[in-house]
Amino acid sequence: MIMLSDYLALIDGTNLTPQLDPTQIEIKDAYVSDMLSDVMGSAKPGQAWITIMKHLNVIAVSSMTGVEAIVFAKGSAPDPAVIDKAIEEEICLVLSPKSVFELSGILYQALHK
């Protein structure tokens, strides 16, 4: 397990929801997918969700499955309306310039060392 703040430092990550504190969010695992129903069926609380999808529905999917952190790959940031909804639902949004592959590899190593 690592704290989201430690992961952020490894991926040049920006916290898009500064109202939420990444030093308080535990990451035990991750789920990687851009198909929302796939995430709905398989993502679990304690996992970060790494994706390039960034419209409003991703917040609902996180909220329904109990995912507390979404990592947006390749520097593609969601709209302010999506960020506002995430703050309301207490889901931390992280933006990174890295690819989904790099983000997964870095987290895998950090969790398994």
Binding site: M40, S63, M64
Partner: protein, 164 residues
């Protein structure tokens, strides 16, 4: 009209009794669902989830209800000309009924197959269309009842017991 049933054997008799004479619910929540309205779709399921959370339902049961309900709500948004969801809260379980204005499901068994999807480009752009929504509902519900036919409305009923 074609009909599809799946019932968790553990709750078989309770489910059959319930559908034989539907009792009045303690709490009823209803929502309109607009065609292709991906901005508002999900609000009905969120309200159901928050209401159950306030009533003290545990996190794993909440997750099952939220996932099944959201998938069905999104299906009405994505695949139909709009409809509504009505949620009936009882002491031991919830029944959520989705009814839409068509165009219906030609072959329900085929629609249940993981990976089967008729989602259009807009729906796929929104991240849906993997053909996993109905299988997710099946996996997370204690009873799933679908009534539909080509050119008709679709009714999806989901029953989930709260457990302990």
């Amino acid at each position: 009209m074609a009909e599809y049933w799946n019932i968790n054997p553990e709750h078989e008799s309770a489910v059959r009794d319930f559908f034989t004479s539907v009792p009045e619910a303690d709490v009823v929540l209803d929502f309109e669902i607009g065609e292709k309205d991906f901005v508002n779709s999900g609000k009905g399921s969120a309200e159901v989830k928050n209401t159950l959370k306030r009533l003290g339902i545990g996190p794993e049961t909440l997750r099952r209800i939220a996932v099944a309900s959201y998938e069905a709500e999104i299906n009405v948004t994505a695949h139909s000309q709009g409809g509504r969801m009505d949620s009936y809260l009882y002491d031991e379980f919830i029944l959520i009924r989705f009814t839409d204005k068509g165009p219906g499901i030609a072959d329900i068994e085929q629609a249940m197959v993981p990976g089967f999807s008729t989602a259009d480009d807009l729906v796929r752009e929104m991240g849906f269309g993997a053909g996993l929504g109905l299988p997710n509902i099946l996996k997370n519900s204690d009873a799933l009842h679908i009534v539909s036919a080509q050119g008709e409305s679709t009714r999806v009923e989901i029953m989930i017991f709260y457990g302990n």
